[in-house]
Symmetry: C2
Subunit: 156 residues, 2 copies
């Protein structure tokens, strides 16, 4: 593992007690890699809090997905690994729940249209789109994904 | 593999040329296991084609998911395996695309409310819900999933 990561032998075992501990920590921090940068978010937020802003945030997610396929695929692999490792499942449940709550709070605090259910529904539809795009990219062509985002936001 | 399946030695190699061939065939037929039975569908369809019927179909999907977690988890594992096996990806892309088109046609032919985009949006949201429920079941409690289905259908 040290060799693949290009670090001196023994590095991983210095930082992580065992494989469960390593995966748990990955599960806790994976959102840091996948989150938009503060700069990007600030740029997006320099706009009135209306549906077009929600649409821009979702398109931004689609773009991050295309730039960092590996990161999103790793999260999906972690989710499956979590079905077999209770410790990882607990860590990832906390990460994903906290992230979802942050999204809800951000949406409501920014005065964006809709309520908690709106945000959770958009989260689920985007999750479905991400899994489809990562695993079977030909099922939904890129243009259709963009149209779907517009439609999802329109119907909120 | 024969031993785990409880069949005589050599059975798998009689039916499948190699591992790719086996996975491709699983990818082609997995929808048969996950589809609702004709009886169940007929019972559901003995109702006027309105939003409450769409809601019932989605709740039915949620129930099948709970009864056959293993089948749905296998499909998710197959999707990830497909990122590494082009043949499996082609087979699974066809299965999932055909299934999605069938859903769209069924919805429109039955005179259910909404259009193609409605059906694809519901499909994505339900996919997201399935992945969440299979991998991190504590993120969305069962009651919240049922409420979300109601909300998703209300907003179509």
């Amino acid at each position: 593992m040290d060799q693949e990561a290009g670090v001196p032998g023994g590095t991983a075992s210095n930082y992580f007690a065992n494989r469960d501990d390593l995966l748990r920590q990955v599960g806790e921090y994976v959102h840091v890699r996948l989150a938009p940068s503060a700069q990007r978010l600030a740029k997006t937020m320099a706009a009135p809090p209306d549906k077009s802003l929600v649409e821009r945030l979702l398109r931004d997610l689609l773009e991050r997905l295309q730039v960092d396929r590996t990161g999103y695929l790793a999260l999906l692999e972690l989710r499956l690994e979590a079905t077999r490792r209770p410790e990882l499942q607990a860590a990832l449940t906390k990460t994903i729940s906290d992230n979802l709550e942050q999204n809800v709070r951000f949406h409501l605090d920014a005065g964006l249209p809709g309520d908690r259910t709106t945000v959770v529904s958009l989260y689920l539809a985007m999750s479905g789109m991400i899994v489809e795009h990562l695993t079977l990219p030909e099922v939904l062509p890129e243009d259709e994904m963009k149209e779907l985002i517009t439609a999802l936001v329109d119907r909120t």
